[in-house]
Symmetry: C2
Subunit: 350 residues, 2 copies
């Protein structure tokens, strides 16, 4: 198992220390700044620590034993994740995440409680979220330094985190552009966007960082990164499938949200090339889509072959991930650690 | 003189290399990402390189001779500045800066040209600016590393840049909150905000970074930072005075903008405590304020003593800066470098 209680606790300890220090520093400036840091901490605390767990899993599978240092590197990826979702919510004008108010939402609510009219309160929420995301972002890089790594190793880890952010920004840009065009992008475009926006910082680079920290050679780091990249894409496609066809009881995800939002996914990109699209299109992206309309879209997506296509594509990327995991550059201990993970990702789709 | 052609050129050379590398890397991802980097470069190119010049001036005044390394540290502050103004424009929903489109504006215009309706085009512009600001922000810290400094020195410079961003975020938060309240904040609140939002990253920390890079001792770094902090506040107050009373021909700044925007400044904070406020208030912050209305506000600000108060306050902070510059911890070479600068800052107000 990649995500374990022990790994979570190591990373949480680092993040607790980090936020504690920041709040203490902020108290020298003023109570409102402390509140901002508390809000950021609360938002970060809601996460599953998925990315840090991957740093630790890769690190340990290569024989690494210094959990403390590895936990710092993991925490750095968690802060990057926090920065990206806080800013993503600003871009999407979302005030809710994980079923509760995010940073924008908390500050909008505070303003509303103080009697500020809604449009101004929302703008204030979004403004504070821009600031909060900035704080999380640069501190991701600062946390790498606080791990105590030095010299060449320090530089390599920074380059990996740099790559994570460089790719994420490119992916976010593509996603923003997709929403400008009335016609859905191609399947290739969606896969490219999902690779850049999510797979690189969520899978590929955390795995590589863990491997580099443990002293793995270049070929191994490369192979593990490729494994992560492909698995990450598979994961995203499965996520998109669950967002439409999943069991809400199981997944905790709404199966109306993506359809109402008009989210560009592999399912939609494929369906747009079929004759069923003329029936799907008027319903898709309707903010008031009801269960009946959603049911209709699902049936059409099945009919068009889009569901089957997406499932096959996810399988395809998972298989590619397998092939990279099988690379002779990777020790058996790494295969042992991540073998189950590939299955877990695919199982979610069933 | 602090800002010189030579210093500008050194810093520009570093920034050219930085953006060149980034664009080259981006071309491996796609043309739209290259365009984003080109836009960010263009926006950065419009700056006066004021903050980098201060890094270099401090560095050289302490006897530093490695202009190359110092230019990297200077460039780091310029990227931080770029990040802050790009995100500040997102928060203020500004599409213009320095008389032309900023990042938000460029992307809004591109979208409009493509036939996208204005509200969506504006949202797209602001969204891309969030991404662009993120890229500039983390790269400010990366540039410090590319300077080649190592060990303790590297860590100290990172701490200084960290402090610059930590303070700026706090200042921006205060500024955002000011706009929520109908009543203007106190003079002390404004000074506090201007110190955090601008003086720390524009004056205090660049000077300290230059001094640290040159090997200055702690007492000297402290004194120079205090000089910078106080001078920075004086500069901001003068800026606020010019924004209302300046000669547009001289300053290039509109003297209607701040009044129309309802910008919270020391002038306004003071005037709000006087009997003239009841006449100023209805005019202040009116987006359609005309030259006559502006003339009336100026007369009232003079009558209330607000102008005289602000001028005296700017002088007061400049004098405090002088006192710190006179500290025995600072070598005469530092005083020689910055003596004229204090006068320059104050001269602007006349």
């Amino acid at each position: 198992m990649v995500v374990t209680q022990r790994r979570r606790q190591h990373v949480d300890a680092v993040l607790d220390r980090f936020f504690g220090l920041a709040k203490s520093r902020a108290s020298g400036i003023g109570p409102r700044y402390v509140t901002l840091w508390e809000t950021l901490e609360k938002n970060s605390a809601g996460g599953k620590r998925f990315r840090p767990s991957m740093v630790l899993a890769a690190y340990e599978s290569f024989g690494g034993t210094d959990s403390e240092t590895a936990a710092y590197v993991g925490a750095a990826f968690e802060l990057l994740h926090t920065a990206l979702i806080v800013h993503d919510d600003v871009i999407d004008r979302d005030f809710i995440r994980r079923g509760g108010p995010n940073v924008s939402g908390s500050y909008r609510d505070l303003a509303q409680t103080a009697g500020i009219p809604i449009p101004t309160a929302e703008h204030r929420g979004l403004s504070v979220a821009v600031i909060a995301g900035d704080l999380a972002l640069f501190n991701a890089f600062r946390l790498l330094d606080r791990s105590g790594v030095a010299g060449e190793l320090r530089e390599r880890l920074h380059e990996i985190l740099d790559e994570a952010m460089f790719a994420s920004a490119a992916g976010e840009l593509l996603d923003v552009d997709f929403s400008l065009h009335p016609d859905p992008p191609s399947v290739d475009d969606i896969v490219d966007m999902e690779r850049l926006k999510t797979a690189v910082y969520s899978f590929e680079t955390p795995l590589q960082a863990g491997a580099v920290l443990a002293g793995a050679d270049d070929a191994a780091v490369q192979a593990l990164g490729s494994f992560g990249r492909n698995l990450g894409i598979a994961y995203q496609i499965v996520d998109d499938l669950l967002g439409v066809f999943g069991d809400e009881g199981d997944t905790g995800k709404s199966t109306l949200g993506d359809l109402r939002e008009g989210k560009r996914t592999v399912l939609i990109a494929y369906a747009a090339t079929t004759e069923q699209w003329s029936e799907i299109e008027p319903l898709f992206g309707d903010p008031d889509l009801d269960q009946q309309g959603a049911k209709r879209i699902r049936a059409l997506l099945e009919e068009s072959g889009a569901r089957r296509y997406a499932e096959a594509l996810a399988s395809d990327f998972a298989n590619r991930a397998w092939e990279h995991l099988a690379s002779p550059s990777l020790p058996d201990s790494v295969r042992a650690e991540f073998r189950g993970f590939v299955s877990t990702v695919l199982e979610r789709a069933k």
